[in-house]
Amino acid sequence: SSTGADEGEITIGLAMPNQQSPFYVAIRKWVEDEAKRENVKVLVADAKNDADDQVSQVQDFITRGVDGLIYIPAGAAAATVPVRAAKSAEIPVVTVDRNPKDAPGDTFIATDSVAAAQELGEWVVKNAGDKGNLAIIQGQLGTTPEEARDQGFKKGIEGSEIKEVARQASKAWLQDEGYQITTDLLQAHPNIDIIFGRADGLALGAAQAARNAGSKDMLVVGFDGDPSGLEAVKSGLLAATVTQQTTLMGKLAVQSTLKLIKKEQVPAEQLQKGILTTGENVDQYIANHP
């Protein structure tokens, strides 16, 4: 399928859902790094959260003659069309983060969010002394990560004395939203002492709001292990987060694509562990993002 203008050089298309989420930004960075090392060209397209745009962009990749596609679906769940389109052009597809149910990629790379969120929940139970009033700042409702993290965390705090007193959803996982929502939740429920922000951005906003409201012993945890999230764990603003191994995932995505291009075997699912990160182990991850 190498009808590309630049015959000979291998070109990979990276279809990004957006470029705001630090998680995606990190993946892109590591994909680009790894590609450079492998002497492979990467084309990046940003769908700005619009699945329809993403279909167009994948079409354009195919026209452009990419040899492989790394597809991080935009939209709440994953659209099948980009995978189908790529497959009918005989281009291998690596899906990252979310996998279209009816048309899975040749391999799927993601964090095992449920397990990681459960571990985080268990850690919270231990560190809060088995009790407390929990507020949850949800991500965008209806999305896979939101649902997986909810499921895992619930399991983690099951059986403890931790009561969920409030939950409110953000629209776009943003720090500003986390700040705004938390300021308000703290008014409505002054007894809150644990906050789980479903992403580091949300958690950071929440921590900032708690700090502004003058509550000192708020236990705030996040998810993702963004650079800023890790810094916050180090400074104590966040108590813990789950670090997704973006470096690894980015590298793996490139390696898997190359293997698929060479028609080598790759497992259908390559789930990575989310690493529980606290003040104790944060330094090593700041130095070297996993």
């Binding site: 203008a5 409702l141 999305t143």
Partner: protein, 339 residues
């Protein structure tokens, strides 16, 4: 009197007609969209030179395919903008329609064709509410449709509590994907038919002319006996119906329905219409111009992707191209006036 008015009577425009001469047929269709059209030609030439594979037929068809949704929405928006209104709700209503389609056919268990009718009807209904808010409660269109933008998005999310719906029957998916004669998908055909209808109505029907009159001055239109409120309400309904139709195209193209569809799309739609020479002050605008505007947007996105331009730089370039495209139109009008 020394002057005989009859002899010096009103003149038809000779000068203009002779200027057309050579390329009469094309000029007749493109009448008055010269500026944007020139912009499109320049853009296409640049892309054909620099972007790999741009000029291949398959890519050109892809572009048409990619602009179907934008094109249908812009068609409705053109009528709204000619009346001097604006429709910010179009992206949200589009999302609401697509969710109704998915929800009725999946969770509701209805036959897909009924869901499709409901999908278009919901769009029309939202448009009707917009129209009545503008004409009866006298809200400024910006506000009426901004409110609808928020409401429709909320409702779209509420249908499935934010989740998306995937998997339509194969025949439905093929509406957008099967290309008859290697070229025309059903959705693309629909786009073309809609544009021809829209063009004919605006140019050759009294109701179309009334749209221009209302946009030029609602008071003049009223005094001339035009049903201003009815015309105004109708253009919003048409925009809503267009959103419903575009929703079907989207669902078919994506094989899924998601409540976040069309976020921020309202500005793209308006940009395409204005690039095509319409004026937000009302009274001015052409379907052919809108088509050119839509194609400029489509070619630009496609070309930049083929060139592998980084998404951030793309944003910068797109902004500059929008400004430049409209600027050519400003220049053309200025020249025309001083000519």
């Amino acid at each position: 009197m020394t002057q005989n008015p009859a002899s010096a009577g009103p003149r038809a425009d000779e000068g203009r007609r002779s200027r057309r001469g050579a390329v009469k047929g094309v000029a007749w269709i493109l009448d008055g969209v010269g500026g944007p059209f020139l912009g499109l030609v320049v853009l296409v030439v640049i892309m054909a030179i620099f972007a790999p594979n741009f000029a291949k037929p398959i890519n050109l068809i892809n572009i048409l395919d990619q602009v179907t949704v934008l094109g249908i929405l812009a068609l409705g928006a053109t009528a709204v903008i000619i009346t001097g209104g604006i429709d910010l709700s179009v992206g949200s209503v589009f999302a609401l329609s697509v969710m109704v389609l998915g929800w009725l056919s999946h969770d509701g268990g209805m036959p897909l064709w009924i869901a499709m009718i409901a999908c278009v009807a919901v769009g029309g209904l939202a448009g009707l509410v917009n129209g009545l808010a503008v004409t009866v409660t006298k809200l400024p269109p910006f506000i009426a449709t901004l409110a609808m933008m928020s409401v429709a998005r909320g409702l779209a999310n509420m249908t499935t509590d934010g989740r998306q719906i995937t998997g339509y029957p194969e025949w439905f998916y093929s509406l957008a994907s099967t290309r008859y004669g290697g070229f025309l998908s059903i959705t693309l055909m629909a786009l073309i038919v809609l544009y021809v209808i829209g063009w004919a109505v605006l140019k050759y029907r009294s109701s179309g002319r009334a749209v221009y009159a209302v946009g030029g001055s609602p008071e003049v239109a009223r005094l001339a006996g035009i049903k201003v409120q009815a015309v105004t309400t109708w253009v919003y309904v048409v925009a809503g119906l267009a959103a419903g139709l575009a929703a079907i195209v989207l669902a078919s193209r994506l094989d899924s329905s998601q409540p976040s569809a069309g976020e921020g799309l309202e500005l793209d739609v308006i940009a395409a219409v204005v690039i095509g020479g319409a004026s937000l002050a009302g009274g001015v605008g052409r379907i052919t111009g809108t088509l050119v505007g839509v194609l400029i947007v489509g070619v630009m996105h496609n070309g930049l992707n083929l060139l592998g331009v980084s998404p951030f730089l793309q944003q910068v370039i797109i902004g500059v191209v929008i400004a430049a495209a409209v600027f050519t139109d400003v220049l053309r009008r200025r020249k025309e006036r001083s000519a």
